[in-house]
Subunit: 408 residues, 2 copies
């Protein structure tokens, strides 16, 4: 192609290939590689055994309807099943859209609301996929300080006072990606009190909420929302199968009807067949029981990772202790750089995701994300051992560097 | 929701619900309705009988892989099968992306290239779905005159001379939606000669090319393209099953890599399961033979519609005689309005799509699109009879109106 650069749109001209994506591709399928990098649910959690027969049944009993075009909003049969599964039978079907994974919902929301230069708020750090997706609209990100209890209320107040026209806040209150943190009920209440005083949309993403290893579920922001501020997302990717790409978004008007029009223009509809396959699964099986079976597997893996980290990591390294989900978050001494560490680790056949990419405004290169859901315990233990050795090596190297006087 | 209007993006603030979409929804499932409106392939064309067993097999032999996340670009196995099916085994796999239907490809292309205010060219009329999809980017549409041979070369030259920075041209050279027209080889050559002298992207959409009822296939623009101008789209929606939402786009860099990044942000990937279901079908069955079986069905329906139109329509009504695809295009006397006609027709239980919506700059309200693929012959004949009666009635009414002197 011989086109000049201005034959791309302004957004795409500056868009580069994701470092993380390239890294994941480079490490995928490498023999012996222990990947603590991805966010994949364990294939053991897929009910593969029963799905074959079930998929056959869907076509044979529902016939041509499952193969034909369907409505942009998604199939009402599946929407009803989602309401039942969520225990929220009162979400009107005409406020629910079936999306091609949560990414599709995150994107369509942003497209409906964000113009270039608009301020959007997020936890610090936040989900990398949401950053990339929203960045297509070229917003201005404001990161709100977030600790182990959730988003800091004073920080949120300050951000909204400084940016009274902020369009939206993206949050993952349960077992956040990447930090593994869960917001306390008190923080959720404070958050809702504050946002109800502002004209700001709240996008509550919840891919991991059902993967709770201990304790009791905490009320969603949506359930605390009295003024229609919260747009709620849900997905089957982490508790059923990601390969089917079935998720949903619940929104009030005017956003709801804009989402439908935008989805019509972006992909017309989510697979009819995929929707009805998931629906059949929900009808004939107990998803909650399946989730209950996978939780002990993930809990054991988290325990193994935490025990290994406690045993192996040198002083000065900190990490979160998530009570659910797929990830934990590690903070190295400030002088260390997780990208440099990754280079060394890949040579030792262990991979993770450097944390800098989870901060839309950059920095924090001394952080990293570890996944514990997708590797057996012995591999997790071995992976942490290698990681710890690399961390120690980098700490020593950085100390040596500090001792060497700079060349004049 | 109590938000002010400026809490939507500039694009969506002005976006309204599609008249056609609402009309199709309103007529769908109405008892006795003869719909010549939709663009649905006939369910008889779906190989439902064999798909159940095949879908079972995919899960049982490929296991967890078909249920897990896959690459944003799509699965190489399916890409290879598409190349074989297309007889273009030389399209490099890393220039091909599997999309969620062609709409997804049309949208992602536009997102990668079009900024608000950019000029884009199209046939006049053109596909409504492409208009809606590209309108999200708020381009300025320039319609190029198009006749039964294809896009008018002089008109194209003039448009590109007036708009030297035009970003893209969207075309459907085979059995176009909505007109049913097919470009001659001569016109395709002239088109390519002209665009090769300009830095303009060409999007060649081809959903209907394989549904040829007579004559021999004509070289695609892509096959005539020597300078990487053409971005080619293909889909299984019209020749296999639309409900699976599996299509593809072939593009050179830099567009290709921008499409991948944008798709990652918009929906991460097309269903792994859907892709591998289609792949399995292509591996174990002869899609060309299946298409050969459905063609006589569509041909008979087109013949029946043309014969009924010849017999029933009053003088002054013109229509195209497509040699393939799903649609024909009708032009009424200029004083008639197809939306008014539709109101009358819906009362008579027959529906079609008024043609004005297929012109991005409006006008042409005396045109309409008829679909012949989705109704049995007797229903087509009855539908045309009712339509003709309504046309005659409208013609008489409009004559009466013209005779009445305007009130002063």
């Amino acid at each position: 192609m011989t086109f000049p650069d201005d034959h791309l749109s302004r957004t795409t001209r500056s868009m580069g290939v994701s470092f993380i994506r390239e890294m994941l591709k480079a490490t995928k399928g490498v023999k012996g590689m222990i990947s603590l990098a991805g966010g994949l649910p364990s294939p053991e959690s897929f009910p593969s055994g029963i799905l074959g027969g079930l998929f056959k049944e869907v076509v044979e009993t529902d016939g041509a309807d499952v193969l034909q075009y369907g409505p942009t909003e998604g199939d009402d049969v599946l929407k009803r099943a989602i309401n039942i599964h969520e225990g929220e039978a009162d979400v009107p079907l005409d406020r629910l859209i079936i999306t091609e994974g949560s990414t599709n919902a995150i994107y369509l929301f942003a497209r409906s609301v964000i113009d270039p230069g608009d301020v959007v708020l997020c936890e610090s750090p936040t989900y990398l996929g949401a950053i990339s997706s929203w960045n297509v609209m070229r917003p201005r990100w404001v990161e709100v300080p977030t600790d182990d209890e959730g988003m800091d209320p004073a920080g949120l107040e300050a951000a909204l006072a400084e940016h009274p026209n902020a369009k939206a806040i993206y949050v993952i209150p349960n077992f956040q990606n990447p930090s593994g943190r869960t917001w306390s009920l008190e923080r959720r209440r404070r958050f809702m009190e504050i946002v109800e005083r502002h004209d700001v949309h709240v996008v509550e993403d919840n891919p991991y909420g059902e993967l709770r290893f201990e304790g009791t579920p905490i009320a969603s922001l949506k359930s605390l929302d009295r003024r229609g501020r919260v747009i709620a997302l849900g997905t089957f990717s982490k508790v059923f199968c990601p390969g089917l790409r079935i998720a949903w978004i619940a929104a009030e008007n005017p956003v709801y009807e804009k989402l439908v029009i935008l989805k019509q223009g972006a992909d017309l509809q989510t697979s009819t067949l995929g929707q009805l396959q998931v629906n059949r699964y929900l009808e004939e099986n107990d998803l909650d029981a399946d989730i209950a079976r996978i939780i002990p597997v993930y809990r054991e893996r988290r325990d193994a990772m935490l025990a290994a980290l406690d045993a192996e990591m040198p002083a000065g390294v900190h990490f979160t202790r998530p009570s659910g989900g797929l990830f934990l978050w590690m903070t190295l001494p400030e002088r260390l750089n997780a990208r440099t560490l990754l280079d060394e680790c890949v040579r030792q056949n262990v991979a993770f995701v450097p944390g800098g990419a989870f901060y839309p405004n950059g920095g924090h290169e001394n952080t990293l994300r570890l996944n514990y859901s997708n590797m057996p315990i012995e591999r997790i233990q071995e992976g942490v051992r290698r990681l710890a050795r690399a961390v120690v090596k980098e700490m020593e190297r950085s100390e040596t560097l500090e001792e060497v006087p700079a060349t004049p």
